[in-house]
Symmetry: C2
Subunit: 433 residues, 2 copies
């Protein structure tokens, strides 16, 4: 009796058409990170629960995959790449030089209820600079975000930027700093629940409709205003120019000098619900598909590593949610998602007697940089064409008598025949160029 | 009170110098697989325990990370990539075209006791062809093994090949086919326990010193004999030429036609302890470091998918144990392990007033394909040189007054000064070429 090949709720297989695209995206991102001198690290999928839950508790507790291992240890699967990075920094403080610029692309696991675009296993792509607290590092992370989306061929994207410190200064100025965590969580829901529901929640929290309105007005900038106008307004709402608004202004000028400021919008409604951010925070929205939420988020956190270490290591970073981004790109019919050919060419085997020739030709074509699939069995031509089609392979090569070959374009059905090995190679490398 | 940043026994962090090499190796392997038309897939890290343990039980049971999730499901972390692949094939039978050629590189977890080169979390790199049972597919997997080691710059490697079916025919001819599983497991230990201990175990198993000697003689080919001579000898020990020896001979001729036969040794002591192999089996040893064991193993399995499906899907595949291979390469001081520079060049920032120029130069250098790390803070030059050294960065660029730059080779300490932006770019791209 066969076992049912079922998969756990919230988990997925990745079929080749999906996985080819995912690897392509990851490869482009890794290239961008490398050109900025960022280096890869890795941490275990499984850690001591105490190590992972030291901070962050709350909702995460229930959502974690946690168990007792065969050695009686209380362990858990990592639910993000940030907490393990903080642990990593404390564990390897003497092996790494600061500023440390790292990226980490791998899976994380959460037991939350699966919904559209959300899974219990998903891939995060984090990049961070730790060891410095200045506008330059903040700017470099923002630059990499911009380069990353450019490298993925996504130009219709906007980075929404705010400053947690400035917001806290505003709350203090308003006299409601004691409610700051709850206010932040409420404001974080604005996009989901709308401004009226947000205002009501804020009124309950602050016990004052005046203060609720003030918060709502802070997080709702006037349409048509630009980055610097908004910054000036936020500054004055927070009691005047100070450190945090100065930092944001400096970052803006660096973005402006680099010619990329137009991609960045000052959006004070961005707070990032999590409580470890202390400076700039940001979220990223696809212009044509804002409803799926942020596809790249992060900010400055100046106290994270302190969970594990008496030292204070400031940091700034960002994380691309690859699965959500890919769902979005699929919905937008992005060209990035469409090229999923398993090879450039299928060498068809219509008769076993051609086998040695087919192998020799494949080797020649591969040495010219082509991806060559050989059918490894002699089946009817129809079946082999169907196979090529299922793999989106654009060309087929068929052996003829007299050491010659026919090349067929499988989209147009055009054929060129009587080609020698070398001619096949020339023809296909030209077509593929 | 900070939490101790400890890691679970048998688990490791991967620091940049290690992870850069790992990514380089994986990238080269993925390139090889792609040039053969192999496509990537992925499966969940977590599966129903029943799905993973359907077959293979025994020792694996105790070594698995198994627990009850928050939904009360009996789940386990995958302990290899083969069982999930069999489940994948049954689950997606109607979405994939046969022959299906896939690769899968990712982590697996086993609770076994950690020892040198063995960890509880490690990366496997599997490639398989399913849907055909012929010499051509067997040959293609062997070719890819050869190409993979070539791509990794490892030429001192030997592939040890045997045939499980031929061995079973030999056991039947000897009248001890009922003990085949135990005999296979014993023979599999030959390399570890030596021939005398193997002989003794075999004698206990078969109850006959004559039969034990016959088995020992089968698995110990005469030194100096070549592939075809050994094959003939094994054939006759197994009762004469038959299907399995014919298959091995055909594979040998394909290897020979492809000019790579000298890398493959017929070694009848290779059995692969696991019981799902039915045809050719192989292990791979680094010539200069045989003691670490096989770094790439596999074989033909014609009944694997039947765990989940009434259909019989034949397959052949191989798996590279990346962690063990990397331990071995490190021990051999392989050049593959040494180039771990985090960037081509460090743009040093000796004065904040040069910041905008440094950013502009970095952008220019990156657009020429260079990996450029900017120090993102103005610290003493000595500290910045130390930072470059720790990242094995070969060049530094330092701003001079008058819009000029100095380039310094950090190994030779040679400097070139008075360069314009464009000249820096030309100089570094030439040095890097």
């Amino acid at each position: 009796m066969p076992i049912e090949p079922k998969i756990l709720k919230g988990f997925r297989d990745s079929l080749p058409a999906q996985e080819i695209v995912k690897k392509r995206i990851i490869s482009r991102l890794e290239h961008v990170f490398s050109t900025f001198g960022f280096v890869p690290i890795d941490t275990p999928a499984l850690e001591y629960t105490e190590v992972l839950l030291g901070k962050g508790g709350g909702e995460t507790d229930k959502q974690i995959f946690r168990f007792t291992d065969n050695g009686g240890r209380d362990v858990a699967m990592r639910f993000d790449l940030t907490v393990p990075f903080a642990r990593f920094l404390a564990a390897h403080a003497h092996e790494i030089a600061l500023p440390f610029k790292r990226f980490h692309i791998d899976k994380v696991w959460r037991g939350e209820n699966p919904q559209k675009g959300r899974f219990r296993e998903f891939t995060q792509c984090d990049f961070d600079i730790v060891g410095v607290d200045n506008a330059w590092a903040d700017f470099e992370i923002l630059s990499i975000m911009n380069e990353s989306f450019t490298a993925m061929g996504i130009d219709k994207v906007t980075f929404h930027v705010a400053h947690r410190g400035l917001f806290n200064a505003f709350l203090a100025h308003l006299g409601i700093q004691d409610h700051s965590v709850d206010v932040l969580r409420t404001v974080d829901k604005l996009r989901k629940i709308g401004s009226e529901a947000t205002r009501e929640e804020l009124e309950v929290l602050t016990g004052s409709s005046e203060k609720a309105n003030a918060v709502l007005s802070y997080i709702s900038p006037a349409a048509g205003t630009d980055f610097l106008e908004r910054l000036e307004n936020l500054s004055s709402l927070a009691g005047g120019e100070q450190e945090h608004s100065g930092r944001l202004r400096e970052i803006y000028h660096l973005l402006s000098d680099a010619g990329i400021a137009s991609k960045f919008e000052l959006d004070p409604s961005i707070t990032r619900g999590l409580d470890y951010y202390t400076g700039i925070v940001y979220e990223t929205f696809l212009d044509d598909l804002q409803t799926i939420g942020s596809v790249c988020s992060g900010g400055r956190y100046n106290d994270l590593a302190s969970m594990y270490s008496p030292e204070r290591i400031p940091g700034v970073g960002s994380s691309i949610g690859l699965d959500r981004l890919m769902s979005g790109l699929a919905e937008l019919d992005s060209p990035l998602m469409t090229d999923t050919a398993s090879a450039h060419v299928l060498v068809m085997v219509v008769d076993e007697k051609y086998r040695t020739r087919c192998i020799a030709l494949s080797r020649l074509l591969r040495s010219s940089g082509l991806a060559v699939d050989v059918y490894v069995a002699s089946k009817k031509a129809g079946q082999q064409y169907k196979y090529a089609e299922s793999g989106h392979i654009p060309y087929a090569v068929i052996a003829e008598d007299g050491e010659k070959w026919t090349v067929k374009n499988l989209a147009t059905r055009e054929t060129v025949d009587g080609l020698t090995d070398t001619q096949v190679c020339e023809h296909l490398t030209k077509e593929n160029a």
